[in-house]
Amino acid sequence: MEFAELIKTPRVDSVVLHRPFLPTVEGTLCLTGHHLILSSRQDNTEELWLLHSNIDAIDKRFVGSLGTIIVKCKDLRIIQLDIPGMEECLNIASSIEALSTLDSLSLMYPFFYRPMFEVIEDGWNLFSPAEAFKDLESMTDEWRLSEINKDFAVCPSYPSLVTVPKDIDDDTLCKAAAFRHGGRFPVLSYYHKKNGMVMMRAGQPLTGTNGRRCKEDEKLINATLRPGKRGYIIDTRTIAVAQQAKARGGGFEQEANYPQWRRIHKAIERSNILQESLIKLVEACNDQSNSMDRWLSKLEASNWQSHVKEILTTACLAAQCIDREGASVLVHGTEGTDSTLQVTSLAQIILEPVCRTIRGFQALVEREWLQAGHPFQQRCAQSAYSNGKPRSEAPVFLLFLDCVWQILRQFPCSFEFNEHFLVTLFEHAYASQFGTFLGNSAAERVKLKLSRKTVSLWSWVNRPQELERFVNPLYEPNSLVIWPSVAPQSLLLWEGVFLRWNRSTKCLDEAYEEMVHIIEYNKELQNKVNSLSRQLAQLETEDSPLQSP
């Protein structure tokens, strides 16, 4: 087994573990192919099982012969291991480094993980494009499912099946694909049942400096407009950035060629800037100084909250165009795999009540992120502690979850899931025993045979035992569109992720439990009263004949 070569010292005794809020534990440290394990070998003492893939970075320190390894995790936790013996410490450190940065996907833990539970409902089969299309078909007949991307040749980042206007043939699609970044021709993202308006997404048009046009592309998106109606193109980049893109062959839709469309530019930052922002934010949160000025200026300088505001605002704008202006919308940035998906998925949360259910949210993540080709593998390769030069890491998905959390805070009764569900998705996107977030596209997932070789996160999440922990006790379905406030006063720091390991949440957890208790007690009483009333009514009707003289 290849792992054995990487593990220089598989076992060290008398290692001391320091973790946030937990007592220190002394025990034996073991390295396996996928886990770092610390066991005190005593019953009822908590052990540490840490996935190597969850390790973002490590630091080493030595005082005499006592070595210390600081392990910084992708879920933002920091733990410390005191290891006696310099050589052992060095060995452990280099082993962890090697094991946590394995390049080969097929060596990842999900391929070795065997679930300890019985898979009742296989998450891999739950959300196929064909399933989603069935729902659409029940509402409209203006769209069709195209197999043009069957072998992922037209667009490597699209799924094999995409939804396109019925009147547009595959030939036109092919030509439009050639005109869009990464072959990402405009496809349906969301159909607004209330007024029949749609949201589409794509890659940027490849107009280049000399203003290339593509009749087929124009035809394709115009086919989504009702007669006499116009639509909006939401470009997630500023006009300046979009202009610059021309020099590299990209660009934006020229008014002259798309007269029925009005283009709006927003300013969602690109991935490397977002990654830098995350690093700065986490650094601010971990700052030990007690200075308020320092904290607030670091928080501001990280720009994280600005990104949240910008993304949320753009999503609200898209939703507003569809619901309030009664117009269809096309969303794109550059590649159409990052900011575009943030906007299209958040707009659906705002517009579509189903997306606010647990199952609906899973479907949304599948549809708008996994199948839509967000490169999870690249984006989540490193988290906030990566100190190397970022390649293509970026907290795009985390920002999306943060925005969902903001809306959840503003509409605490309109979501079936709770904050814990969002935090769990964040964790699994970065390191997981499940295969769901492996790979960068549907094509890669097929190639890796994930659905056969790994377990889906949804198979686990949807087990009743697990589901229970994700349910929001305040939930009551709300069929309305929910418009969040995007004012800075309304947007909060997501403490559940960013301060999770910095302060104990005991009191907040207790408050949550109390809330659950209040609601459960109410339901219990309701049931009791109902059954007693029924009994009473029954007794009464039995008695009533006697009553009549």
């Binding site: 910095n502 302060r503 009263v529």
Partner: protein
């Protein structure tokens, strides 16, 4: 009434800050006590009432197409813009309001004309609702070491202190008098809080008149007596809540702080809370930040940082934490003072008390605490909250900071407080509104001289009557969080901007569904269900036992509040998008103040197409607080009804 130049103006526009809703059109009334705006177009009666005492500033603005706007900024952070068609009317309104909002004599304040339906006995009872002697005995004094001193009965030793004061039994009259002569304004060390469990006490005073070298034997004996009244301890803390530099500067004017060389067995500590002027400026900056119209995140955060407000809150909470720790964990008594001992000292003593004693985390307890540490000990309410038209340099948000400390604690300990945020906001409102007499004037003696208890009413019974609005549904007396001492974190990230207070009236900024409201509704329903259950069980038993025919079953049904609370509190609000794109879509709120009223959003301005949406949830109908009939002087609507909304 002679100050009202114009009692009524028609066709006035009222513009709500930060709302995309179109302005209301209606009639403006000026009464002796309130400015009242009645929306003449609303189907349901919709009134806006503002106490004159709440008005912080009235400002005429540049003319617009609708008329002459004036901006009313209130002490409770409400901002109202009125647009009056005629310039002369506007001038009259401004002049009247300026005069009305700046009372020159106490008797002009609303509390002296507010006449609720209470007879004399009821009024006296209401004033006795909070009984400080009972509170001291709850703490465990008098006891064998502490007693109630008659020394200040006639306010002769210290005119800003209460008549009833607790001091160590071992402190003789000459010692107290001597000590009082050595303290600013005679405010000698006296008991604020006594901790039964550890026998440690929190005492308060003003600064000693020590200058660079002066000593006072009696004052030293006084501190010694306090220290000795806590038999278990070897020393006591003296906490000077000022920054060291300020305290040192005071020495040059013959004041200063205690020297560890002169006072035996004291440990001296500076805390570094800034003075009232710094705090006033800080809050002013904070208000400006909260008033920004669609600020960027950067503008907001840097504004928050530059205001230094949260830093001050952090310092005050840290001071309270230090004292609570000394008293509860070390069992050491503490003497707290600042300069005069009525601002920072009141803040710090009361914050420490909230941390130490669960009683102060109950509704009644907070009332008692404010009556004790603030009202009775001569916090200068009328100066600090400018009840009268006096020196603006005396104004400072001292109690705001205490209330905010409590709010920050509530955020950290959501189950620990019996009351909710609205209670704090309501108290804040009453401190400024002059609706009740409790906070009028600057000390107990002044209130006696004014006849406050005879001529005005007490706010506490009124708040108590409305307590269902102020309850925290998560509070349970047997919950672990409600027990014992609170040990809050004071790392910077624990402090948040208090949106609920500073943007209280900007409803668009608040969560669209309120967990508090939901849980309150559920708890109310639970209570009904419990009654219903008992009812059913009783009837079942009766039916089963006696086989009586014709038992009339009470078919009472419980309000199905679940479905109600799940709906957004303001459906209209939940369904009103903000201005997400600086006015590219529809009409921007900014235009509202300038344009003649328009119907709904104007749709796609760019294409000239106006798609008329016909969905039912499109209407921006606002639920209004139903008033009874048109306001008359004697049927003054209860201000709290609005607050609870």
């Amino acid at each position: 009434m002679e100050h009202i130049r114009l009692p009524k103006v028609d066709k006035v526009h009222l513009v709500e800050r930060g709302s995309s809703r179109r302005p209301q059109v209606g009639t403006l009334y000026l009464t002796a006590s309130h400015t009242i705006f009645v929306d003449s177009e609303a189907e349901v009666r919709n009134e806006t009432w503002v106490h004159h005492s709440l008005v912080r500033n009235v400002e005429k603005q540049n003319v617009t197409s609708l008329g002459y706007p004036l901006l009313i900024q209130c002490k409770n952070f409400q901002v109202i813009q009125l647009i009056i068609p005629q310039e002369s009317d506007c001038n009259d309104v401004v002049m009247s309001l300026v005069r009305l909002s700046r009372a020159e004599r106490y008797e002009e304040l609303y509390c002296f004309s507010f006449k609720p339906n209470l007879d004399k006995t009821e009024r006296d009872q209401a004033w006795n609702f909070i009984d400080l002697r009972a509170e001291y005995s709850r703490m465990g004094v008098p006891n064998k070491l502490w007693h109630l001193s008659p020394i200040n009965r006639e306010y002769r030793v210290c005119d800003t202190y209460p008549a009833d004061l607790f001091v160590p039994k071992s402190a003789t009259l000459p010692v107290i008098v001597g000590s009082s002569k050595f303290r600013s304004r005679g405010r000698f060390p006296t008991l604020s809080y006594f901790c039964k469990e550890t026998q440690a006490a929190i005492c308060r005073s003003s600064q000693p008149l020590s200058g660079f070298s002066a000593r006072c034997l009696e004052d030293e004996q006084m501190l010694q007596a306090i220290m000795k009244s806590n038999p278990g301890s070897q020393f006591m803390y003296v906490v000077d809540t000022r920054p060291k530099l300020n305290a040192m500067a005071n020495r040059a004017t013959g004041k200063g702080y205690e020297s560890e060389d002169n006072y035996t067995n004291i440990k001296f500590q500076f805390i570094g809370i800034e003075n009232i002027h710094v705090m006033r400026n800080s809050q002013q900056k904070l208000i400006e930040v909260s008033d920004l119209r669609s600020p960027s995140m950067g503008e907001f955060l840097s504004g928050l940082e530059n205001s230094d407000w949260l830093k001050h809150i952090q310092t005050i909470l840290n001071a309270g934490k230090f004292i609570a720790k000394a008293v509860a964990e070390e069992g050491v008594s503490v003497l707290v003072h600042c300069s005069d001992g009525w601002d920072r000292t009141a803040q710090v003593c009361s914050v420490a008390s909230v941390l130490l004693d669960p009683f102060y985390r109950t509704l009644k307890g907070l009332m008692v605490l404010i009556e004790k540490d603030w009202v009775s000990f001569g916090h200068k309410f009328s100066h600090r909250y400018s009840h009268l038209d006096e020196d603006p340099k005396e104004v400072s948000p001292v109690i705001d900071q205490f209330l905010e400390c409590v709010w920050q604690l509530m955020e950290q300990f959501p189950c620990a407080f019996e009351y909710n945020e609205r209670f704090l906001i309501s108290i804040h409102n009453h401190v400024h509104s002059c609706h009740y007499g409790n906070f009028i004037s600057n000390c107990e003696k002044e209130r006696k001289d004014l006849g406050i208890k005879e001529k005005t009413h007490s706010v506490w019974p009124h708040l108590w009557t409305n307590k269902s609005d102020f309850m925290n549904p998560l509070f349970r007396t047997d919950h672990s969080q409600t027990q014992g001492v609170l040990r809050p974190l004071t790392t910077p990230y624990c402090f948040k901007f208090w949106r609920g207070l500073y943007n209280r009236f900007d409803r668009g900024l608040h969560p669209r569904q309120s967990v508090l409201d939901c849980l309150m509704a559920v708890k109310e329903e639970t209570q009904q269900l419990e009654e219903l259950l008992a009812d059913c069980e009783q009837k079942l038993a009766a039916l089963g036992k006696e086989q009586v025919n014709g038992v009339c079953v009470n078919k009472r049904t419980v309000n199905q509040s679940r479905a109600l609370w799940a709906q957004p509190a303001h459906i209209s609000l939940a369904n009103t998008p903000q201005d997400y794109n600086e006015g590219i879509l529809g009409s921007s709120p900014k235009d509202w103040s300038l344009q003649q009223k328009e119907t709904e959003s104007t749709g796609l301005g760019l294409f000239g197409v106006t798609p008329k949406t016909s969905d039912p949830d499109n209407s921006d109908q606002e639920s209004s607080s139903g008033g009874d009939s048109f306001p008359s002087e004697d049927s003054v609507k209860d201000a709290d009804l609005d607050e609870a909304v």
